[in-house]
């Protein structure tokens, strides 16, 4: 239930409607925690039921009314507790690596195409990470905490470092394929 705590995290900065939360996820943590719109609304209902948030309907003239959610003191405690607590060991799944694992069944040409596709995707991913600092600056002004912004930047650093590492690996694989250094039998 990390989504619950991620949502509490944002609500600890300021109140949000579901629609605003979705947009906020999309331009901050999307690269390591994409959030589904339907799930956000359902989880807001859960947070309210848990007593971790309260809801207020805000009438708007120029737009449809919205439901704004406020974190409660119990919510803040739950968040702090979760942040300080060790996570159960997570495991990551990668369908790409399954394709790599069995790529011996492809021709060298097909394998090369596969790795070049991956490299292209990772380069695009890296490029999109480079856009994030601007968004962080905007949120920093909003939240007014350079400490918070520091840790946001760390998640970006993580993304850049690990993406670069994967890209270097991909490029070395591509090299080996091009140089016919891959066993045929």
């Amino acid at each position: 239930m990390s989504l619950k705590y991620a949502m509490l995290g944002f609500l600890s900065y300021q109140p949000f409607s579901g629609y605003e939360l979705k947009a906020t996820f999309d331009d901050s943590v999307r690269h390591f925690w994409p959030a589904d719109q339907a799930q956000i609304y359902r989880t807001l209902a859960e947070l309210t039921k848990d007593g971790w948030a309260t809801m207020e309907v805000v009438p708007q003239e120029d737009r449809p009314n919205k439901k704004v959610y406020y974190i409660t003191e119990a919510g803040r405690e739950a968040l702090r507790g979760w942040l300080a607590k060790p996570l159960p060991l997570q495991d990551h799944r990668s369908a790409e690596l399954i394709q790599v694992f069995f790529a011996g069944q492809l021709t060298d040409e097909q394998a090369l195409a596969m790795f070049e596709r991956f490299a292209q995707e990772y380069r695009a991913g890296l490029a999109s990470l480079y856009q994030i600092p601007e968004q962080i600056k905007a949120y920093e002004d909003m939240v007014g905490s350079s400490r918070e912004a520091f840790f946001w930047m760390l998640t970006l650093e993580h993304g850049i470092h690990s993406t670069r590492a994967v890209l270097e690996w991909l490029e070395s694989v591509i090299e080996r394929l091009k140089n016919k250094q891959v066993p045929q039998g």
Copy 2:
């Protein structure tokens, strides 16, 4: 449904029972695709229903009988098709990075403890990756293909490279925390 294709991949090497497949997953692709025992048995049933595998009961004297699954020609085609086909863009979730993103709410001491925990886990993960080449050698003898083994090794390289990159990042974060280089407000 990557699990289905991963299972087809192993079945393309040789027939397996569900129990044997589970063991094989555990010492080959576990680090990027952990497989649940129950799911393996259910997916074997699906593969059979799809016409991608057939089943034969093998009586054993010294052990309980087993159901051995054989890939069909249709299964091989499905596997080759999937391997050559671009995957829909995958997204990775990381609860750890959610904790990092909101770690500004912790004290420096708590944050330091968190990052040192992560570093410990990644070091342990790296150590376990170093054990894999032996297993790969064993399977290489079984499958008798240095080409297959080459691609298995690539997934290991990937794990080592990206884990090292994350570890370097973690160590730089730990440094900054120890040197009081993290903004307080």
